[in-house]
Subunit: 328 residues, 2 copies
Amino acid sequence: MSIRLGIMGYGNLGRGVEVALQDAPDMELVAVFTRRDPSSVKILTENIPVVSVSEVENWKDKIDVMILCGGSATDLPEMTPQYAKMFTVVDSFDTHARIPEHFANVDAAAKAAGTIGVISCGWDPGMFSLMRVYANAILPDGKDYTFWGKGVSQGHSDAIRRIAGVKNAKQYTIPVDSALEAVRSGKNPELTTRQKHTRECFVVLEDGADAAKVEKEIKEMPNYFADYDTTVHFISEEELLTNHAGLAHGGFVFRTGKTGVNKEHNHVIEYSLKLDSNPEFTTSVLVCIARAAYRMRQEGQTGCKTILDIPPAYLSPVSGEELRAHML
Amino acid sequence: MSIRLGIMGYGNLGRGVEVALQDAPDMELVAVFTRRDPSSVKILTENIPVVSVSEVENWKDKIDVMILCGGSATDLPEMTPQYAKMFTVVDSFDTHARIPEHFANVDAAAKAAGTIGVISCGWDPGMFSLMRVYANAILPDGKDYTFWGKGVSQGHSDAIRRIAGVKNAKQYTIPVDSALEAVRSGKNPELTTRQKHTRECFVVLEDGADAAKVEKEIKEMPNYFADYDTTVHFISEEELLTNHAGLAHGGFVFRTGKTGVNKEHNHVIEYSLKLDSNPEFTTSVLVCIARAAYRMRQEGQTGCKTILDIPPAYLSPVSGEELRAHML
């Protein structure tokens, strides 16, 4: 019997989940839920209903896991506890600083309802978190490094767009090669913010805007740009839409550590991702976490979980015997 | 209260466990067991007894987890089921082809005794297996690549030593850079055995041995060398002991895969290890798996497990709250 899946929200993430499900033979899409008028939402899969979110309660017994495809800023803090009252849910909440609060809210809702809510699944938080936890456990005497990019940072792009005179903008976060190499070599460098990443901005100005003033404002923006080497390119809207519409991203997680009687042995653990589509990779993680959530719920577990609480084998459609015979 | 640990066997691995325990504040070494005369075994830690293996049964209630530091060829297939009858045990059994059989033997013994046996912990099998399972679950439509090295292969070194006229030898397995780059670029290359790794041999001849004959015999040895580009260096025993005594190793696990409506997006997941000491990294894994085994046993679980069955957070001495606040 297939695991019956629902998708809540049909933007980049919702569509990504729908596409990822094509490679999940043990799962079946049952319905897509939307806050919009369902008749206005055209999905890729044929013969699957698009349903108004107002009717979601009627689907309680028809869906095993609901994947919540909302944004972290305002949607998920509300949605995940709310829907955990009805369904086992999975989300990609990625505001690191607010994870403990989100965890507590989802945990209370899920425990009361006898469901599971797996939060913060994707690559960071998600796979990168896993790598940090494994590597810290193995090498307790060591140092962590995380680099992001090359990829568009939504937050930084938004910050540029809020500047007067800016019509549109994309900002790429780029790891500094020499910093990567220094870490990779096991030198345990102390790296400043500026030494780890550069920021490259592609900006479309409003008619008559003052380019020099905008560039200065970007480069001096505290927190976002002031601590980085930032380059600003002014381009046409057409060029922005043509050349900077991609959703590629990625990054690197390192831990370097020492072992030995006199700490004479160095070790370098490196994990990296190069992703053509940030949202599709995230939703590929969400889908296999949904499989794990279903299994944990079948075992009788309830409450809020993260990827750190899930036995790795639960993410795989392959049996334990097969995993041991072919992947261990 | 500390987790009480025993070490069974005091070679490279046993010593590595002892050293790794210095960085595990929640664990305490209780005793080291040996098949040798205990009075002949000098360990690093003061005031810890070295005990004859014949007395191990008396320690049943004094040890929470026994780490089994034997070899995979002959020791562990016997030792792990045997000691799982008395203790929760952890081993580093690494004969991939025999894992299903070993699992079945340990599972039967551990279930009957109400203990846990975690087998095949280290880096391959171990962390590399984990990476394969996670990456396959996330990118079901993709391709796996594993590279080993640069590092000494014990099996290949032994094979050279069995040749008539060879006094001593070390063999390094070396991944081919251009193959690594091709995989890393997302080109999904089809790679032959020869294209993935080269083999470099350092050989000490017996007096009067025929170097040309030995070199030919090495290079044509089926399975071990015939399918590889192999170079052979003849050196003195002194040089071998001085320059080739290191225990460095490492490797790379890749998965490249596609997502998207038309599979238009490529993704590359890469995990790599650069280890100055292969046995010390392995034992660092064993120690945090011992922590996890203890926790699973406290929950009432029994039977044989692998790293694929263990929630990642169980490996860490840090609480769930702390992990979520700082590492997720």
